[in-house]
């Protein structure tokens, strides 16, 4: 029963995160959407590991990997934002249209 609740919460977090990642124009807000999806992933891992896997250590390892992914996303995301801002003085996704045509 608890596992179902945890997974429903995780799917809500992933849904909100997907909405944020698709709808936000600002790079930083967009990254928040991605982070929220990863938050849902961590919640699901915690639920599965604790209630469905009898505490297999590999489950905790997976959570650590997700956290590493989050660190990579943050570091490279901010570096890209800085690079784009220096070049275009802009922080919005729409500013990057020169490859369109």
């Amino acid at each position: 029963m608890t596992l179902t609740i945890v997974l429903l919460g995780a799917s809500a977090l992933i849904g909100i995160g997907l909405y944020g990642a698709l709808s936000q124009q600002s790079f930083v807000m967009l990254m928040m959407g991605l982070e929220l999806m990863l938050n849902g992933a961590i919640l699901a891992i915690i639920g599965f590991w604790s209630l469905g896997l009898a505490g297999m250590p590999e489950g905790q390892l997976l959570a650590i990997i997700v956290m590493a992914v989050m660190a990579v996303e943050m570091a490279l995301g901010f570096a890209l934002i800085v690079a784009v801002y220096r070049k275009r003085q802009a922080d919005m996704t729409e500013a990057l249209g020169t490859l369109k045509e």
Partner: protein, 201 residues
């Protein structure tokens, strides 16, 4: 008892996650996301995953502090004095979000979920340590090397020194003729809200 705490924490995580995209203040948005992570970390602690839960809190506190600094530094409306709703393809995004939520929830409700809870005598933190530096060491080391590559990449991307001078001076290539316009493409005046492409700071 455990159930009530878990439900409360999850509701809090979802509510704060939703607030991220609804508040007008950058700082509140970042720290709202942090609260969402802290609630998930709390679920981890309650569901006997103490190391991951507490480490999430630690990591997210540092990350969201950096996030708040970047938000305020780069956005034009940091303090929330004006309503802040900067979205594109809004209806599509709402649809995609709702669809993802409904789809995943249906999958959860219709699936036969395993039931094998952790027992209280398991030394979960010890097990994790042995796993990290034992059978799964290669995976752990790969994560380490990936993070190293990330650091190098982040430094290169955000470095101020560019091929044609300092990045915040435009870093534009020299003109084709003496004193002429810089070579290469000039971006359209379209995106963004700042229109001082040639402004020196």
């Amino acid at each position: 008892m455990v159930n009530v705490v878990v439900i409360a924490l999850i509701l809090f995580a979802v509510w704060t996650g939703w607030r991220v995209f609804r508040v007008d203040s950058m700082v509140r948005a970042s720290f709202s996301l942090m609260l969402s992570f802290i609630a998930v970390g709390g679920v981890g602690v309650v569901l006997s995953m103490p190391y991951i839960g507490v480490a999430t809190v630690f990591m997210m506190a540092v990350e969201m502090m950096a996030m708040a600094i970047f938000m305020v530094a780069f956005m034009m409306n940091p303090a929330g004095l004006n309503p802040m709703m900067m979205v594109h393809q809004h209806k599509f995004s709402v649809g995609a979000g709702v669809l993802a939520w409904l789809g995943l929830s249906t999958a959860v409700l219709s699936a036969e979920l395993p039931s094998a809870p952790v027992t209280s005598e398991q030394r979960v933190v010890f097990d994790l340590g042995i796993e990290l530096l034992g059978p799964s060491m290669l995976i752990f080391e790969t994560a380490g090397v990936t993070l190293l590559a990330t650091m190098v990449g982040a430094v290169i991307l955000s470095s101020r020194e560019g091929r044609y001078g300092h990045a915040d001076h435009g870093s534009r290539p020299p003109g084709l003729a003496e004193g002429g316009d810089p070579a290469g493409r000039v971006p359209d005046e379209g995106g963004g809200h700042h229109h001082h492409h040639h402004g020196g700071h």
